[in-house]
């Protein structure tokens, strides 16, 4: 096991909304009434079935209730043991699944205000991502502008699969707002399930859905590059969260080959896809969906052609590794430090502004 340097920056942890009741104080009157009157249930997406062995590691599973549902638990399980200096909270609550734009916006506001009061104000090591109603880009931008004044928000959170590919132009106001405020764009595993979760329809098993997240990330990376997002927003940092990363070299070989053959279709893409990724795109570490042997993993790191792409993450409380083995075996101390500290610092412009 590679030793994790002290003061690591954990770029992907998942505090849970304990129940819709916890959000009630943060919902406006109208929406609070709707929740009661209509019997609106928990917004728990099928992306993480509540009791699946992946959704919560066995030793992090509470006797009752949801995992990672309060600050003390998260500090005890995710921050203290790893000597984490800062952790970025990505709240996965099914706001993006709602079909009503207004309801999506209302729940996004509630989740963000809850995040500030219940988490950021109580634990100085925490930072967070802004949850936005991706159902409506204007509303998403409004929410970014509303939250951006609080510098403890370091990123905007999108799900990898929504209604339309993330590179498409109607999403660009979100990226403009992120660039303006110095926020990264975090794209996390998960779906609004407004489209089937695979390009060939609905699978039978959760295993397929989860494994298939990597393919969803691949197509979104293609979209962001081909539509010219990074030509328009050269300073934008996009972080793929819980995406896996071992697929990246093969994907770039294929995309680059087609870019050479087909760039007449997308003339605004004036740099090779690999160069764009190395300057603008980062990946959270967990899950390390890598080869079982250390020698092959090191070859894979060579195929990545950069030691700046990976950002440390535990993906707490999801089950991605045992015990304290958050870093894969065989990394040099130098690479471990880059992944744990230097790369996150270089990626999140706001991170340093708020560190005492």
């Amino acid at each position: 096991m590679t030793a994790l340097p002290a003061g690591a920056i954990d770029c992907d942890i998942h505090p849970s909304v304990p129940s819709v009741q916890a959000l009630m104080p943060y919902l406006e009157d109208h929406w609070r009434e709707q929740v009661v009157m209509r019997g609106i249930d928990e917004l728990n997406s099928i992306s993480y079935p509540l009791n699946s062995p992946l959704t919560c590691r066995a030793d992090w599973k509470p006797a009752s209730g949801r995992p990672a549902a309060d600050v003390a638990t998260v500090a005890r399980e995710a921050l203290d043991p790893f000597r984490t200096s800062v952790a970025i909270a990505n709240c996965l609550y099914g706001v993006q699944l709602l079909f009503s734009e207004d309801m999506g916006a209302a729940f996004a506001r509630a989740v963000n205000d809850w995040m500030v009061k219940e988490w950021l104000d109580r634990e100085p090591r925490l930072r967070a991502s802004i949850v936005v109603p991706t159902q409506n880009v204007e509303m998403a931008v409004d929410e970014i502008n509303r939250c951006a004044a609080d510098k403890r928000f370091v990123q905007v959170l999108l799900l990898v699969s929504g209604d339309t590919p993330l590179g498409r132009r109607h999403h660009w106001p979100i990226y403009a707002a992120c660039e303006k405020h110095g926020l990264a764009v975090g794209i996390h595993a998960g779906s609004s399930y407004h489209n089937p979760p695979t390009p060939v329809g609905w699978p039978s098993y959760y295993t397929e859905d989860y494994v298939g997240q990597a393919q969803a990330f691949q197509t979104q990376l293609t979209s962001l590059i081909c539509e010219g997002v990074f030509t328009k927003f050269p300073n934008l940092k996009v972080v793929l969260l819980e995406s896996g990363f071992t697929w990246l070299p093969a994907h770039l070989w294929r995309l680059t080959k087609y870019w050479r053959g087909l760039r007449m279709e997308i003339p605004w893409v004036d740099r090779a896809p690999g160069d764009i990724v190395r300057s603008n795109v980062r990946f959270s570490l967990q899950p390390v969906d890598g080869p079982p042997d250390q020698a092959s993993l090191l070859k894979l790191f060579d195929h990545l052609q950069s030691d700046e792409l990976l950002l440390f993450s535990t993906d707490y409380p999801h089950a991605q590794f045992d015990g304290m083995a958050a870093l894969p075996d065989g990394l040099s101390a130098e690479l471990a430090r880059k992944i744990a500290i230097d790369n996150p610092r270089a990626t999140y412009a706001r991170l340093m502004e708020t560190v005492a």
Partner: protein
Amino acid sequence: MNEIRSQATPDVQAASKVGVGDGDIHPARKGPKDFHPWLSKRWQDHLEQYGSPARQGWQVGPAYPKSQPNASRRDAYPPEGGRPGSSLEFMQSQHLDANNIELGILNPLGSGQGVQNPELSAALCHATNEWQLAEWTSKDNRLRASVVVPYEDPVASAAEIRRYAGNPAFVQVLLLSRTAEPMGSRKYWPIYKAAEEAGMPVGVHAFGYGGNPITPGGWPSYYIEEMTGHSQSQQAGLTSLVVEGVFERFPALKMVMIEAGFAWAPSLAWRLDKHWKTLRSETPHLKRLPSEYLREKVWWTTQPMEETESPARLAETIEWMGWDRLIFATDYPHWDFDDPAHVLPMKISEEQRRAFFIGNARKVYRGCAG
């Protein structure tokens, strides 16, 4: 990629002394009436009046306009006229002879697969199969046919496979990768059963219109996204085949993934293994690590070869898969043709070269041991 060539690259002979197998050749019709000898009057009239729409919006042509007319090499138009791939004589001189092709697998496209009307789909697929016999395999013994099946009607597909099970001209069953449901779904199992019984591998070629958006995040804008995305569609199809337990249910089944790259295979295998270990309580029907099914039951055709920055990275990637997994293919006459003289930029052993260029194909395709 569109340089006009009057003859094969000079060093091709040296590169392929062993003879070359080509796992992906696309024969084309000369005209819309080529299938008429095998279509009833009813379907001839139907085609005239209603066409043969698939699950996409254009009456004619692909959902995403191609980069070249007919997606073809500019130098592949037969001198006597007609579409690239429609003249056996020109295919022989430009490709089979020039590139030392000893075994060529025909994968006809635009052959009724994925057509909305299931009966029309079946009729067109059957006509395509008869046409392969009459116009291609009977005239050149280097060529072998694929049983083209109307895969959204698996019962009709199984009947079509059984019809040709005894005919040595047919060496694989052909599907397209963008099916309506994930490929491992029970719906398609009659196809795998019939293919297993016939001893034919099931080839899965890129494209097809299953009716789903071609990414889990909706429809992309560009042809380059569609082309790059074939690898994701095939990864989803393979994931489904493995997780549904198709390889447990049909232990002799072999799959050949065609024209969607291969360098993604190791990462897919690692990811499947990692998460299956966590989630295995969901799939007690799987008796082995997912990667083991991929390692033993699945082959990949090579075109379009991933091009790596250093040859060592390509070699390492192939070693992760195994040199016995790859079947060389050119995609003749399409624009992104891979030239056998140039696809392998690194030094490899004669044994690896033979396996890559023809040995693996001879083992996989029925009756092609030579």
